[in-house]
Each structure stands twice: as structure tokens, then as C-alpha cells.
Symmetry: C2
Amino acid sequence: MTNPALIDELKTLVEPGKVLTDADSLNAYGKDWTKHFAPAPLAIAFPKSIEQVQAIVRWANEHKVALVPSGGRTGLSAAAVAAHGEVVVAFDYMNRILRFDEIDRTVVCEPGVVTRQLQDFAADKGLYYPVDFASAGSSQIGGNIGTNAGGIKVIRYGMTRNWVAGLKVVTGKGDLLELNKDLIKNATGYDLRQLFIGAEGTLGFVVEATMRLDRAPTNLTALVLGTPDLDSIMPVLHAFQDKMDLTAFEFFSDKALAKVLARGDVPAPFETECPFYALLEFEASTEERAEQALATFEHCVEQGWVLDGVMSQSEQQLQNLWKLREYISETISHWTPYKNDVSVTIGKVPAFLKEIDAIVAEHYPDFEIVWFGHIGDGNLHLNILKPDAMDKDEFFAKCATVNKWVFEIVQKYAGSISAEHGVGMTKRDYLGYSRSEAEIACMKAIKAVFDPNGIMNPGKIFV
Amino acid sequence: MTNPALIDELKTLVEPGKVLTDADSLNAYGKDWTKHFAPAPLAIAFPKSIEQVQAIVRWANEHKVALVPSGGRTGLSAAAVAAHGEVVVAFDYMNRILRFDEIDRTVVCEPGVVTRQLQDFAADKGLYYPVDFASAGSSQIGGNIGTNAGGIKVIRYGMTRNWVAGLKVVTGKGDLLELNKDLIKNATGYDLRQLFIGAEGTLGFVVEATMRLDRAPTNLTALVLGTPDLDSIMPVLHAFQDKMDLTAFEFFSDKALAKVLARGDVPAPFETECPFYALLEFEASTEERAEQALATFEHCVEQGWVLDGVMSQSEQQLQNLWKLREYISETISHWTPYKNDVSVTIGKVPAFLKEIDAIVAEHYPDFEIVWFGHIGDGNLHLNILKPDAMDKDEFFAKCATVNKWVFEIVQKYAGSISAEHGVGMTKRDYLGYSRSEAEIACMKAIKAVFDPNGIMNPGKIFV
């Protein structure tokens, strides 16, 4: 069948006007936040119901057309890029919150519900959806589940996986599976729901998700602490975790802070200059709790692990302290950073970070490295800034060499080459640094179970 | 190859004396706590290393011998019963705690580590392993993972699944997979670790597990509250969860309490007799927190949801209140109870329970029903007591009819026919009440990926 004939048939499966083929739409819906691959989809289809998604998948099987799911397109690994004539299935019109259950604290969402929409809905009900990250204003629940999104509250609340009570998925065969039915306890064989979380749309598409909400946190309070060296951050984490449940434990380097302060719109946390900073947050739900945090802070100072620090005394101060961390990514984008999102177990962080620092400094002494990340989860964002004088192509070529060294160190420390950004196409060729050949073979065989014709987001995670 | 020749070859794969074939051993290691199937294994093998487990699995593939894993054998669904000439692989000699990481709060365990051993180890380190249930003194970590064990602290801490940082498994092919490498964040494709959790040994055997520990809870405090009816329990749960993180929310009926009090060794919680009781627990980490709990209790009384209640003021009182709940199972065992372990979403519990009560009462007015369970998770243990005058065989035959009605009601409420006991052989024929044909077909195909010769615990979960 010719492409125009294919598109005509596709148009019969959705509502009128819900297949787009104009150049602007193909370009916009054919890519995510990555810039490595030129978008080249055949068409964009916008289903409005589960039945329409099933019809599209059955049609794709019949004609062996590859499908790429599209949510908020905020991904950083090209998992939602259609570069090879695929049909993009965009969930923009399946964006309703369908039901709320007060006793179970669950919300049934269509996949196109925006993360912030769910967060706001929860807040309206006096509850809390705790998965949060920079792109929450545009990312969608379906995409969050496909990548098992993490973010800044993982230390307390875990990844998206922890908040998925039930899933409806359309498999690569077009079957609708209703997985786990929103139960807390369900010991009836393999938990297939878990397979679809983090599968980047390669097994099937999420068409409905029941998300759990939590009690709203009380009087969130942040401390920013300056440490004399990286090694001191770990005993600080340990000292606080002994006493309380932290809701965040982030870190950033002096270089990251300097760049944010240079903007001029965020006050410095305190005068003392330190090589590393930790931002930690907890619920000051009682006065005793806040006093306990201050006592732990003083203990850390006495031990020499902390040089200076500040604790927020108001919502405004809380916001200002968070800006020190949250503005980093946007601020350094000016220097065309080469980003890596890696993780190791928490205890290995200092040695791992120093080893990467050393190897980059040895070979490229003119490269500036900016570290920040979710150190309480072992997740580090490594950003190498382009020297102003260096050509962009030359910089990226050199970074590709750096990449290989970084991943070799990741492998040596038994870490992950993608902590929370997924594999997609950008990390695909490096998957072997984190997963064994036997594991990759199992993954491919599992994909064949759910997607025998290989039409669901092919070429993502593995070829 | 003849059976004696097979056994001789098996003996070469483990240490001397680590294959048993005497009648007592076959009988002891061939079954779990269920009594429905007569044990009939070929032999019991006791590996002492991962390599020995791999050798046994390769040998089993070569000779097409079925293997059954054996841990603490405390299962209630016959998942660890060898009734058809299988070789039992018992992990009693792989029972060491191998490593502890203070910063990551993780413990690397061999599969034969007993649950209590891990709990005690954690306590020695000032930490906490929160998965707890009646058989913790004999169940093993490998078995906990195989069944995704739940228990009495799920409302706060979740199932065993939440505490597995990494797994080493030997698949049905004999491959050793090192899954997730103990990372908190790892977005590198399908999380195969999740598949093996709750798979009841049908995909492979857990040979090492890294378990997470948590901060030790502070000043655990229990309330027992009596409610005028079942419907009042839900707003009580809601009122407390709005204010604090509960570590338990259990319930039991007046009949359950009466049987426990009749033992004479546990004091009544208070004088008022109520049809239903809730036991809830929280961390009274500060005085303000304890006052908040009392205020919430008073609010519940004012609303008419609670008739009477008591809050523990000491460790001894805490233990005594817990005995009211924990002694139920042992106490009612005198009446040869027919047990079911079912779940629905929390909000559906009252209607679901009443419907089952009504149908049993209608058809078997002489049957006494004792309800208890983890109502905060939607998990109910339904126990039908044998009338003294009724013959045991007649009773179980009638219960089989009841079973079908119960599962039809479970299906109507989109619940689970096995909330935390697993499927094994006892629930296998009822799996269709909770999982669709398409799901079961996917599970079978996934089993074929990891266990192409069908040697790993065959006949469990599905045929």
C-alpha cells in the first residue's frame, strides 16, 4: 500500500482531523528535547479513546508500520523521536482525569494528563503527588511511566513506579491488558505492570493509569549546608537520615553555585565559600522536629563535616534555597553543556565522582565540569561546559571520547549509564556497560512476546 | 538414565552428603505448610554456592528433571511442594549475611537467610527491616522474594518488592543474571528484577539478594478502637492518614476477639463490646505527635465512628494490644478454619465483606465466619470455622462450593484471589478470576523465555 493510501486508512481509525501530516506537525511531534536525530515521521495520529489506540495498533500490525508514542516530548534520550517514517501516536487528546477515590487516594488518569495537572489535582484534594522534576509542566503521565521518571523527591517517595497502582496497556498485538486493578496486594503471578513501567513504549502503550497520592507534607523546610570536601557529604546524609525521613537530599558544586549566583536574581545562602553544597529538605511537622534538625546541623559542624549552613524559616526562604539547585540546569545551558545522567550506589559516589573528575581534567584541562544531582539516590548529573573558544563540533567530538571513559568508570563501579533519563536511541549503543548480554537477550525475547511484529517504538533501548 | 543413576550424578554437583533421599527428608522437604498434596520428591539437594545452583539447573535441563525451590516452607499455597518426583533445591546451607553497607543501608543476603535473622541484624545496626509476619521466625528471604511477602506493615513500608535493591538469579537456562546492581535509579531497559519477585521460582531461583533497611521507628504506639459497624472503619482510617503516616492499620471482628480473649492470657482492650475493632500503629516520635493521635481519636468518637478505644503507654501495652491481632490465627486453628486470603481496593472493603458474609450465611447458617486482616491495604483473611458436629470432609466439600462464590464476588469487585499467599498449586485453577486469558498467555510466554524446558517449579501458578 502506498503511503497516501496508508494515511487515508489511518484517518478512518480516529476522529476527523486527528491525523496530521503537515511539515510543522511532523517536525514538532517527531522529536523530544534531544537534538541528535532529525524528525521524519510519516504522520501524527491523535486517538481519543482506548479503542482508537487498539485500532491504530492493529492497523500498524497489518501494514507493518512502526509506531512511536508521544507525550510531553520532554525526554532526554530520544525515546520519543520518530526519525524513520514511523507514525507518531500522540496522547494530547487523552488528557482527562477520569476518577478520584478518596479512601484509596487514587486518581485514574488518561496517559496525556500533564504531571503538573495531576500535582495540582492532588493539592486541590488536600493530597500530594510526589514525583516532581523540572519538566513537570509539560511532561505527561504516560511518558513518566514509560521512563519510570524520578526527580527531586526520590529519596523519600521513590520513582514513578511506586505510584502506579494499576495500568491499562495496549500491547504490540493490540490486546488491552488491565494490570493489577489498583490493588495494594495481589500475589497472582508475574506483575506485568512492572514490565511496562520504564519500557519506553517498546512493549505497548499505556492508555490509562491509576496513580496513588500521598498525604500532603507538612511545613517543608530546607537546609543548605556547605561542606569542606565531597567526602563530608556522606556522613551528613547519614546523620540526618538517622533522625528523620528526608524528602530531598541534593548536591551541587561551587562552580554550579557560582553560575547561578552570577545571574543576580537569587541570594547566596551564606557568606562562607565551600567546594560542595548539600540541599536537604524535611517536614518540620512539629517544633521538636525542627529543633532536632538544628541539633543535627550543629553536630555536623562540630564534626567538621559542615562549614556553614542555613535553614529556611518561611515558604519564601524555602523557595529561594531551592532556586539555588533548580536554576542550575537552565543557567548552564548557555555553555552548551555535554550532559550525562549516571548513578552508582550511594556509598560509592565520592570515589566515583573524583575518578571521573580526574580523567577529564587530565585529558581536557580546559573543560569545566559542573556537578549536581540527587546525591541521596546516588544519581549524578555530569555536565561538561564548552570552552568559549572551542568550536561546537570539536567540543562534541571530544566529549564522545569522554563518554567512553565515563561509561568505563560507571561499569567499574557497577553503576547505571542512565539513572533516570532512559535509553532511547542516545544510550542504546552503550547499554552493554550496564546490562549483560544475557539480560539484553532476555529483554529482546520479552519484547517479542508483547510485540511479535516489532512495531512498538522499534530501535529504542536496543536494536 | 535410571533414577539411581540420576541421583548419583546429582551427588557429584554438590558437597558430600548434600543430597538426601531418605523417607523422612523427602517428606519434610517435599512440602510447605499446606496439607493438600502428598510430598513425593526424587531427592533433596543442598547447594552451598551459586555455582552449585547453576550446575544443578544445567543438570536438570540435560535430563529434563523438574526442580522445586525450598526455603522456610512456610508457604500457604503449595508453591514449594514437590508432589511429582521433582528434585527439591533447599537453600538451608546458603544462609549467610555476606555484606552490610552503612551509607546505602543495604544487606547482601544468601537466599536461605531467615527473615528474623535479617530483622535482628538490622536492629543490631540500629536500623530496621520492616517486612514482618507470623512466620518470620522460619521463612527465608529467597521465599519472601519468590512470593513478594507482605504482612502487617505494608501500609507504611509496602511489600517485599520495595526492599529488594538487587537480585542475583539463576534462570531456568542456568544463566546467572545480576539484576539492578543495588541501584536506586537505573533507567536502562526492562527491570527484570521485578519479574522474579513474586514469580514463585517458576522463572529461576534467587541465589543472592541485596535488601534495603530503613531508619528504626521511634516509640511505636498502638491504638485499638472499637467501631459501631464496618462502615465506620474507613473514615477512621481516613482521619488518621490525613494527619500522620500509620505503620499498621489492622482489623478484626468481635468473633475473632472473643476467641482470643477466651484463652485467658491477654487482657481485653476495654470494656465496651463492639462488632469490629481496628488496631492502628504510628511513631509517637514527639509528644506533639502523640497528642495529635489522641485528638484524632477524640474526633472519631465525636463523629460516632468509634465507640471506645485505648492507646498504648508502654512497650508492654503495645505488645499486649498487638497480641489481640496476632494470636487470632493460632487461636482459631482449633476449629480447622477454611482460609481465604483476598483483596480489593480499600474503599470497596465494607461492601465486599458484607456480600461474602451474606452469601455464606444464607447457604450455611451454621458456619461461623471470622474476619481479620490488613484492612488498610484492602487485604482480608476470611476464615470459615468448622461446626464441631460436622465431619471434616463434609466441611471442606462445602467450603469448596463457598470458594467459588467468594471468587465470583472477588471478580465482581475486581479484586485478587490471593492477596499475599501466592498462587502455587492451591489457587492455580482459580487464576482466571483475577487475571485475563491474555495476561496468562503472556505469563506463560515469559516463563518460556527464562525456562524453555519448563524445569523450574512446573505446575505452579499455571499448568
